[in-house]
């Protein structure tokens, strides 16, 4: 019995890692830059598909293919920012919601046409596992956790110690004041957004590699999970988003263990509502005028 719950806990940690990885990029875009997006998942999946294209169609080595996809995704992020956000910086955030929704619809259908409608198989990037007692821990699961930690620290360093990063943080507090002290608002937003997208795509590659499959329809669900993780952990806190991801993963799997599997997704949304009602700024976030 204990072994059973331990297994489910571990399943939760594994899934949580993936949510956490996705949540970092989402937190940067949504939490730090304040850009509402419902196309995050679709953009991430598109990036992974680009990598897949390099691998499957152009025949490149898998790791090289995925690495190549990252700069392309970065540029794509700039394009997305131009289409969905640039014009609406002074407008209500709800407008961004609709532009990203429209863009998501467009991207999903376009992906289906460009890359085909079926699921695509992606081989595991890192094979092998270690055994601890009854549990098998795959190297790729460890890899995901390690990358998550690396990203948190790298991002924190970036935001606190580099010029661009500090500029982005200034932006998130007060756009006009930031402009007055010389921050190039446009460039900073574009950079921050693209960075968030690239981080997400990295997470997407891990996800595709872990589950060995990707499909253009995976986007929306992924985005919703990342979104829930960020709100749960605290919109303004990037490490909070990561913790939110883990909590989400664990709660979901424990819910399946205790209740029925049909209510798995319900758990995520109930958590969302409870957090919002009790502490809207999330577990680790600060009070913010949004």
């Amino acid at each position: 019995m204990f072994g059973f719950y331990l297994s489910q806990l571990f399943n939760g940690i594994t899934q949580g890692s993936i949510y956490a990885l996705m949540a970092i990029g989402y937190s940067l875009i949504f939490g730090t830059l304040g850009l509402v997006t419902f196309a995050y998942g679709d953009i991430v999946i598109f990036g992974v598909f680009v990598g897949y294209y390099f691998y499957a169609v152009l025949g490149l080595n898998l790791i090289l293919a995925m690495l190549l996809a990252l700069p392309i995704t970065f540029l794509f992020g700039v394009l997305v920012e131009k289409i969905c956000y640039e014009k609406f910086r002074k407008e209500a955030r709800m407008l961004m919601l609709i532009t990203t929704v429209g863009f998501g619809i467009f991207l999903r259908s376009a992906s289906q046409i460009i890359f085909g409608t079926g699921n695509k198989s992606i081989p595991t990037l890192i094979e092998g596992k270690i055994e601890i007692g009854n549990l098998n821990i795959l190297y790729i699961q460890l890899g995901i956790i390690i990358f998550t930690l690396i990203f948190i620290y790298a991002l924190r360093y970036f935001l606190n110690n580099t010029r661009t990063g500090i500029g982005i943080r200034a932006l998130s507090m007060d756009q006009d004041a930031a402009k007055l002290v010389g921050v190039n608002v446009d460039k900073s937003i574009k950079f921050g957004h693209s960075l968030g997208v690239v981080l997400g795509v990295f997470g997407g590659i891990m996800l595709g590699s872990f589950y060995n499959a990707i499909s253009p329809m995976m986007g929306p669900n992924l985005g919703l999970k990342a979104f829930t993780a960020v709100v749960l952990g605290g919109i303004t806190s990037i490490p909070g988003a990561v913790i939110g991801g883990y909590i989400l993963g664990i709660m979901e799997n424990l819910a399946v263990a205790v209740f029925s599997s049909g209510y798995r997704d319900v758990v995520a949304f109930i958590i969302l509502i409870i957090v919002l009602v009790v502490k809207p700024s999330g577990l680790f976030g600060k009070e913010v005028k949004f």
């Binding site: 899934q15 289906q112 079926g118 198989s121 098998n136 499959a213 029925s260 599997s261 049909g262 798995r264």
Partner: protein, 375 residues
């Protein structure tokens, strides 16, 4: 200035398209196709389109139906029932459309059924397997067979006889097809003394089954019945493999496809399913269909594609006999006798269903192998 040019261009395009879509009439016989061309079921809808178009082209190459060329009017139902209903409304309104093929899901078919029935147009669904569909109207027909036949076959012939197991857990997708499949299988299992240790549901698009599998493994079933489409089924077997759980794997005919092999790799080894369409079928008409499909779609056809092809051929056969009147076509279809399609002999029951008999297929060395033939 540029703004207004773009805006006027948009307006003109819209008007133009509307005018164009009104269409010019020709001396053709039009068949409506309602399928999910985009959305979650896009790959299935795409198969429909390929197959039906291949069939139509074949027919036209042989002189058409009663001298008239076949034209397929394709509409995207997005996998949504109310869109399927709107499409039905459009089709029945168009006097030139004599019959309809579609939709993919039973809920879409059922939503559109009242409209087709009221307007006396045939709705021939290649893949609707819900027992309530065909009996919901005189003009409703389904050719893939229902889970009322598949469930018992899976339980008795695959689980008990072929695999020789006495207990099984069911993992099923929580949509109308999955629930219906699960219920029929469980009911049949009871009758043949097969113990069902538990049932777990998941929603479409789910990729992580580790929680469900951990749950299911608790009760130590000898086998796992995976009632899912090949996308999710391949995920399930992948994760069973990862857990290093040595359990028998079986599934309904929904998994039978090349995609399953590709997506599951080695993990799919040993999975057993049923089908009535096999790629190795030596019959000439089957092989030429497979070749044509492979050329157009760049992949082998699966069960869904095959039944869609037969649907068009069936309709053509009925129209050839009955002419272009919608009601006459319905009667001729119901009276179909000795029709040999790529999926075998097709004859309708009183309610418009087809009773299928199956072959048992197993994944061996990365390929589908016919193990038993009960047809």
């Amino acid at each position: 200035m540029r703004k207004s040019y773009l805006l006027s261009l948009l307006v003109l395009t819209v008007i133009f398209t509307f005018v164009l879509s009104a269409g010019a009439a020709e001396d053709t016989v039009k068949i409506g196709l309602s399928a999910p061309i985009t959305g979650n079921y896009a790959e299935f809808g795409e198969n429909f389109q390929y197959s039906v178009e291949i069939a139509a082209d074949r027919i036209n190459a042989n002189g058409g139906i009663r001298g008239r060329e076949v034209e397929i009017i394709v509409r995207n139902s997005e996998g949504k029932p109310n869109v399927a209903a709107s499409i039905a409304q459009e089709f029945v309104q168009n006097k030139e459309i004599v019959a309809e093929i579609g939709d993919f899901t039973s809920t879409s078919c059922l939503a559109a059924a009242p409209i087709y029935e009221r307007n006396q147009m045939v709705q021939l669904s290649p893949t609707s397997s819900h027992p309530d569909f065909a009996r919901s109207g005189e003009f409703m027909f389904g050719i893939v067979g229902t889970q009322a036949a598949e469930g018992p076959f899976n339980a008795e012939y695959i689980a008990k006889e072929y695999l020789g197991i006495d207990s099984v857990a069911v993992i099923y997708i929580n949509n109308d097809w999955g629930v219906s499949t699960m219920e029929n299988f469980v009911a049949a299992a009871e009758k043949v003394g097969l113990e069902v240790t538990g049932t777990e549901a998941f929603f479409g698009g789910e990729t992580d089954f580790s929680a469900i599998l951990t749950n299911v493994k608790q009760n130590n079933p000898e086998g796992v019945y995976i009632a899912a489409m090949y996308n999710e089924a391949s995920q399930v077997v992948n994760q069973i493999d990862r857990m290093e759980w040595d359990v028998a794997k079986l599934a309904p005919s929904s998994v039978f496809s090349e995609q399953f092999l590709k997506l599951s790799g080695e993990s799919g080894e040993g999975l057993v399913t049923n089908t009535f369409f096999a790629l190795e079928d030596p019959k000439e008409k089957v092989q030429s269909f497979i070749a044509e499909f492979r050329e157009r779609a760049d992949r082998n056809p699966n069960l869904h594609a095959a039944v869609a092809y037969d649907s068009m051929m069936l309709l053509a056969d009925a129209i050839e006999r009955a002419g272009f009147d919608r009601v006459a076509i319905r009667d001729a279809l119901a009276e179909t006798e000795n029709f040999e399609g790529v999926t075998g002999t097709i004859e309708f029951t009183d309610v418009g269903d087809v009773v299928r008999s199956y072959m048992i297929m197993e994944v061996k060395d990365g390929d589908w192998v016919v193990q038993e033939d009960y047809r």
